[in-house]
């Protein structure tokens, strides 16, 4: 496994708690601010992209002409409300875009024209020249020192620095960027806080990460997603059917002796075509992307967001996603003749010089489990510290006591066993048994040994290090299973360890000793079975797999190669977020389906309002269909049109925030949504139209 970095400290409860996809805010000020945009969008060349609303606009023009030719209160009310319907639809889209624009504005502010210190002939010479940030080309090298802004995207090729990335992530804690490894990527517009780094520029001007982010949140690069296209086709065909139904109605009505005015025919068309969903469709899509942005995830395309909802298999890296970043000491297991307290004391002493998270966890366990206070290194003046290194794989301390030098060592079982042998001792079978038991259970055994004076060294016992599964993960995986999503844990551990953790965490499957090639093979295998795969990754060697996966979420801390390969970037670099991304993808589709159902179901009530109003004069029996007891034909038709317009405004918040989504299986989701939006869509307009009629009937000319 490639991930070697220590993830930014994430509040454990926050990371693992089952997030509900929740509401975004709708600012009333935003509505007012979006009005001019909404009016601008009345341009027919823009409107034609939305066939449903284009029909409404054409209808508005027709009624305007008719109202001018033959003015009446009724004609002008219908005309007014038809125009409002069109504007409300544009408003929905403008508001959704407005939120992105606000975000883009913040980003743009970071795009100051930083002056770059370009290294002319690096690494052979250190000569610099000052150029504008926009003059940088792919492959240039620049040097950045504390307090300076990084002039463009690139990879650190020399040095290490702490960088303030709050401009793009909103996270104020600085992050470490260093050459080599998977933490080498830096983003233009972020600020170096300490030290000096040399960066190789990896983007052309105008195509930097921030530029792309701005384009994305502004919706400039927005294309219709496959699913949106399919829905649009269905909506267009329903629109055509209703257009035909109304056009052919006129000769039939004429035969019946009740030819209808143009105003009434247009009103009927607008009432019947699926305006609610037609008006809100693009707002739903924009808002879906926006919800991701609010969670600090950038989707490179709407297609990726949609694919997230369809994902069948989640590949989750063990470290940082399923388990806390590091192993922790769980237990001290003494050798024969040694007490636990002695072992704990020795373990703590030998770990004081071990700054790795594992080492610290040993000190903490000794303190919490056995009341041993962690001594500061300075307290023990007679001590010589042996720090942990990757070569010795041991840490320890030499204490210059009265009875000779006390040497205490702790480290990887093999290394410490060698140390014991080198110092004249042997490791007993009781201890080797303990080591094997711990390995067998998927843990990591650390051996503790001591040598007092000239006596042979002896093993005191074993420390049991184990992976700690994040709280709440099991429930989360159960939830995913109910949604029909299989989780596969990816780990570099051996199969034994992997199995133990997989069982504890409750994932469906695991891939042990995973190499990037294994990961790739697994993705291809799943895809061959028709499944959609989502994964996270950060290293350069993850890039091919990220590109192959249907949803590839690159961590912002990762390399540029990984970020280029994936179709989403998580600015928080929190791999658990993949689960939220899936939920947002699903919520996006559900919102579309729910509003489509609502829109179509609305038509029933509108028929009961309009048909009797049109024909009760010639066929008085049809007045029995006027079950809402609407006041007059004019008030009935007006009420239906007013309701039709108001429902768009009323549903904008829902379109922007998405319908409520709880992870559950398909049947219960369907039952709930049909209940709310199907039956609701049947009933609500009856009530709404009646209420509007109660008001409208008092308008002179409509009564």
């Amino acid at each position: 496994m490639s991930s070697t970095l220590t993830p930014a400290p994430v509040d454990q409860a926050e990371a693992a708690a089952p997030h509900r996809v929740s509401a975004g805010l709708l600012d009333p000020k935003l509505i007012v601010a979006s009005l001019p945009d909404a009016v601008k969008k009345l341009d027919p060349r823009v409107m034609i992209k939305n066939p449903v609303m284009f029909v409404v606009e054409v209808g508005s023009v027709v009624t305007t002409v008719a109202a001018i030719a033959d003015p009446s209160v009724f004609a002008w009310s219908i005309t007014l409300w038809l125009w409002l319907t069109t504007i409300f639809a544009n408003l929905a889209e403008a508001v959704a875009e407005g939120r992105g624009k606000a975000q883009a504005e913040t980003l743009r502010r970071t795009k100051t024209d930083a002056v770059a210190r370009r290294l002319v002939n690096w690494p052979t010479s250190q000569a610099e020249e000052e150029v504008s940030g926009t003059a940088l080309r792919l492959g240039d090298h620049v040097v950045i020192e504390a307090g300076q802004t990084i002039p463009g995207d690139g990879d650190v090729v020399e040095g290490v620095a702490s960088v303030d990335e709050s401009a793009i992530t909103g996270e104020s804690a600085p992050v470490i960027r260093e050459s080599g490894g998977d933490r080498s990527a830096v983003t233009g517009g972020t600020k170096v806080l300490s030290d000096r780094i040399v960066v190789k520029i990896s983007s052309e001007p105008g195509k930097t990460f921030i530029d792309r982010m701005i384009a994305l949140v502004e919706g400039a690069a927005r294309q219709k997603t496959p699913n949106e296209i399919a829905l649009n086709i269905l909506l267009a065909s329903l629109t055509i059917v209703f257009l035909i139904a109304v056009c052919t109605l006129q000769p039939m009505a004429t035969y019946a002796g009740a030819p209808q005015s143009m105003i009434v025919l247009v009103a009927l068309v607008v009432a019947l075509i699926p305006t609610t969903i037609g008006a809100l469709l693009s707002a739903i899509g924009i808002a879906g992307m926006d919800r991701l942005v609010q969670r600090n995830v950038l989707a490179m395309s709407g297609r990726a967001v949609e694919a997230a909802g369809d994902v069948n298999t989640l590949l989750l890296d063990k470290t940082g996603t399923i388990t806390l970043g590091n192993r922790q000491a769980a237990e001290f297991q003494p050798a024969n003749g040694v007490t636990v307290e002695e072992l704990a004391d020795a373990a703590q002493l030998s770990s004081l010089a071990d700054e790795t998270p594992e080492g610290r966890s040993i000190v903490v366990l000794a303190k919490t489990g056995y009341g041993l206070r962690a001594r500061a290194q300075g307290e023990l003046t007679h001590a010589t510290w042996v720090p942990f290194t990757a070569q010795t794989r041991m840490s320890g301390v030499d204490l210059d006591e009265a009875d000779g030098v006390h040497q205490v060592r702790k480290g990887a079982a093999g290394s410490v066993a060698e140390w014991v042998a080198a110092n004249g001792g042997t490791v007993g079978t009781d201890v080797t048994d303990l080591v094997q038991q711990i390995s067998g259970a998927g843990g990591t055994p650390l051996l503790v040994a001591a040598k007092i004076g000239s006596a042979p060294a002896r093993a005191l016992g074993v420390i049991y290090l184990k992976d700690v599964v994040k709280e709440g993960m099991k429930e989360r995986f159960d939830e995913l299973r109910r949604m029909g999503i299989r989780t596969v844990m990816i780990t570099g551990d051996n199969p034994l360890t992997a199995r133990a953790i997989a069982e504890e965490a409750g994932v469906d499957d695991f891939l042990a000793e995973a190499t990037p090639e294994d990961k790739m093979a697994l993705i291809k295998k799943e895809q061959a079975g028709g499944k959609l795969v989502a994964m996270t990754g950060d290293g350069t060697n993850d890039a091919p797999a990220l590109a192959q996966a249907d949803v590839g979420v690159a961590m912002n801390t990762g390399t540029m190669a990984a970020k280029e390969a994936g179709n989403m970037v998580d600015l928080d670099s929190n791999p658990t977020k993949l689960i939220e991304i899936v939920e947002i993808g699903k919520q996006l589709l559900i919102t579309r389906g729910a509003l489509t159902t609502f829109s179509i179901a609305n038509d029933v009530a509108k028929y009961f309002a309009i048909i009797p109003a049109m024909f009760a004069t010639v066929y008085p029996g049809l007045d029995k269909l006027n079950i809402m007891q609407l006041h007059s034909p004019e008030s009935a038709i007006t009420s239906a049109i007013v309701f039709n317009a108001l429902v768009i405004i009323g549903l904008i918040p829902l379109a922007l925030r998405g319908v409520k989504y709880r992870p559950s299986d398909a049947s219960s989701l369907l039952r709930r949504n049909i209940g709310v939006y199907g039956l609701g869509g049947l009933v609500v307009p009856f009530v709404g139209i009646k209420l509007i009629d109660l008001v409208v009937q008092f308008i002179p000319g409509l009564s």
Partner: protein
């Protein structure tokens, strides 16, 4: 036995018989559509025609085969009708005008069997047997062949081959329609339906008027008329004629025959897609509509509105005394829901709502259970629309039986549901706008409008039954209704075949708990709702000006 009880017993017997046949017949159809082996006689036929029976076709080729075969059928039938005076067994009937012959040729090739002529007066025995009866077989088989490709679209993966039209056609005729027809023709003959080659008999009626009635090969024609959901009667009176439908038993048998294959096809569908529950869900939706429609029509006809109806005890005008309300209503519901179009009573005389329901039944798109093959593909298209909307509501790209419903699939499904309403409404609208054509109506007001609406609904949906009343053997109606039949039959087929091609190309998506289940009662309810709303909403204004205006007074 009271007539109510008799009605109930008939309905129960009918449902029981259909249920008994569901599995064996459905399995048989599935087998003949999937089997790799050919009968010897079939091999001989393929050799004569020059068909490579083991090579499957891509959907455009399949479509070309369907269209070419149908075009040849129309030409042949047209020629036969126009030339019958010069051929054997012509019976000396007068020459049919060109527009009527064209209309008739189209009508029988498209499985509509609309008749703007009077069967016994216009057709000799040769045309009846070699022309009309042959089309009764093959037009039914074409429908089943087309639905077979759609099912293969679901069952096949990553291929552009949807089947071989010539093989499907041959097998459906030889292994399904012919054997069933032979068996049931014998039953009909045994029950009193006539089967001979007699010419006209001159008779004197009880009132003393002279009447000439021809004999003919009626039973052989009758059986495929029902079995293939054709409906073109040997006699003008269709199944109300005692030579076609002599008694209560044959009446029930005819209803059974016209429902038999359409109701068994969902089983074949379930078997082919490897999940019988999918078939049960589809047949449940079909059954719901059929039961509800039959019950409602019976209810409206048994109402005693109006003086004449009160005197008779029910709305008996236009119904056979032999059959009564229950058997007539059951026949009316079944024939209009199956695209058959045979009638044993006159729908024009039905009560406004009863007659309105027969129109509405056809407007549903002939899907419950619909015509042979065409019923199932119509229903599957609506299922795709239902799955699309519902699939979004469960948060996934909608998929039906493992196949994703994307833009391409929805395009063809949308065009399908667009086609028939367009033909019906535009046709009716034009007819109502032309004063000359309005004069063809027998009645005025809303009822007169219903007659025109019925005619176009019947033609575009390939039902073929007539409301009656309206005079349609005019140049204009023969042409307009002929066009309605052609477009109403073949445009949907184009879209179904294209859809089959799009589905077969796909790689299947495995089902998970997150997949919308399409075999549960919830889906049955949802699909029924989608059918009612999609159809009801489209036709509501037209229906409001016809039967609803007439019924609510």
């Amino acid at each position: 036995m009271s007539s109510t009880l008799a009605g109930w017993l008939q309905a129960v017997a009918l449902v029981g018989a259909l249920a008994l046949c569901y599995r064996p017949l459905g399995d048989h159809i599935a087998k003949l559509l999937t089997s790799a082996s050919h009968l010897r006689v079939e091999r001989g036929l393929y050799k004569v025609v020059g068909v490579d029976a083991d090579a499957d076709q891509r959907w455009p080729v399949y479509l070309r085969s369907v269209l070419a075969f149908s075009a040849v059928s129309v030409l042949f039938l047209y020629g036969l009708i126009r030339l019958q005076n010069h051929l054997l067994l012509g019976l000396g009937v007068p020459e049919m005008p060109a527009h009527q012959a064209w209309n008739t040729a189209i009508s029988f090739t498209t499985n509509t069997n609309w008749q703007s002529y009077s069967g016994e007066a216009a057709m000799g025995h040769l045309v009846q047997m070699a022309g009309l009866a042959v089309q009764n077989f093959v037009s039914a088989a074409v429908g089943i062949a087309v639905v077979a490709t759609l099912i293969r679209g679901f069952t096949r993966n990553r291929t552009d081959r949807v089947g071989n039209f010539w093989v499907d056609l041959t097998r459906i005729v030889l292994r399904l329609l012919l054997p069933l027809s032979i068996v049931f023709a014998l039953v009909l003959v045994a029950s009193g339906t006539i089967q001979n080659f007699h010419g006209f008999h001159e008779l004197t009626t009880l009132a003393g008027d002279p009447q000439s009635i021809p004999g003919g090969p009626v039973a052989s024609q009758e059986v495929i008329k029902e079995l293939g959901t054709n409906g073109g009667g040997f006699y003008n009176a269709n199944s109300a004629h005692p030579f076609e439908n002599p008694n209560g038993f044959t009446n029930l048998l005819e209803i059974f025959l016209l429902l038999l294959i359409p109701f068994a096809l969902p089983r074949a569908f379930g078997k082919m897609v490897g999940d019988h529950r999918q078939g049960y869900a589809i047949v449940a939706v079909m059954g719901l509509f059929w039961v509800a429609s039959a019950a409602l029509i019976t209810f409206f006809e048994a109402q005693h509105a109006g003086t004449a109806a009160q005197a008779a005890g029910a709305a008996m005008e236009g119904k056979e005394q032999r059959f009564g309300i229950a058997a007539s209503s059951l026949f009316a519901a079944s024939t209009t829901l199956t695209s058959t179009g045979a009638v044993n009573s006159f729908h024009d005389s039905y009560s406004p709502f009863g007659g309105g329901l027969t129109i509405f039944n056809m407007m549903l798109g002939e899907i419950a259970p619909g015509g042979t093959g065409s019923g199932l593909y119509g229903m599957l298209i609506l299922a795709i629309v239902a799955v699309f909307v519902a699939g979004l509501m469960v948060g996934r790209t909608p998929e039906y039986l493992g196949k994703k419903l994307g833009g391409r699939e929805m395009k063809f499904a949308s065009l399908y549901i667009l086609t028939t309403p367009t033909i019906v409404l535009v046709g009716t609208g034009i007819a109502m706008g032309l004063p000359g054509e309005r004069a063809g109506m027998l009645n005025s007001g809303a009822h007169g409008f219903s007659e025109v609406l019925y005619a176009f609904t019947s033609a575009a949906n390939n039902n073929g039954s007539a409301f009656g009343g309206i005079t349609v053997n005019t140049d204009w109606y023969d042409t307009a209704l002929g066009l309605a039949m052609v477009f109403g039959r073949f445009l949907p087929m184009v879209f179904v075949l294209a859809l089959a091609g799009a589905l077969a190309r796909q790689q299947p998506v495995p089902a998970t708990p997150g997949t919308l289940p399409t075999h549960k009662p919830l889906f049955v309810g949802l699909l029924s709702g989608v059918i009612l709303i999609v159809v009801g909403l489209t036709y509501f204004p037209a229906l409001a000006l016809g039967p609803i205006a007439e019924g609510l007074h």
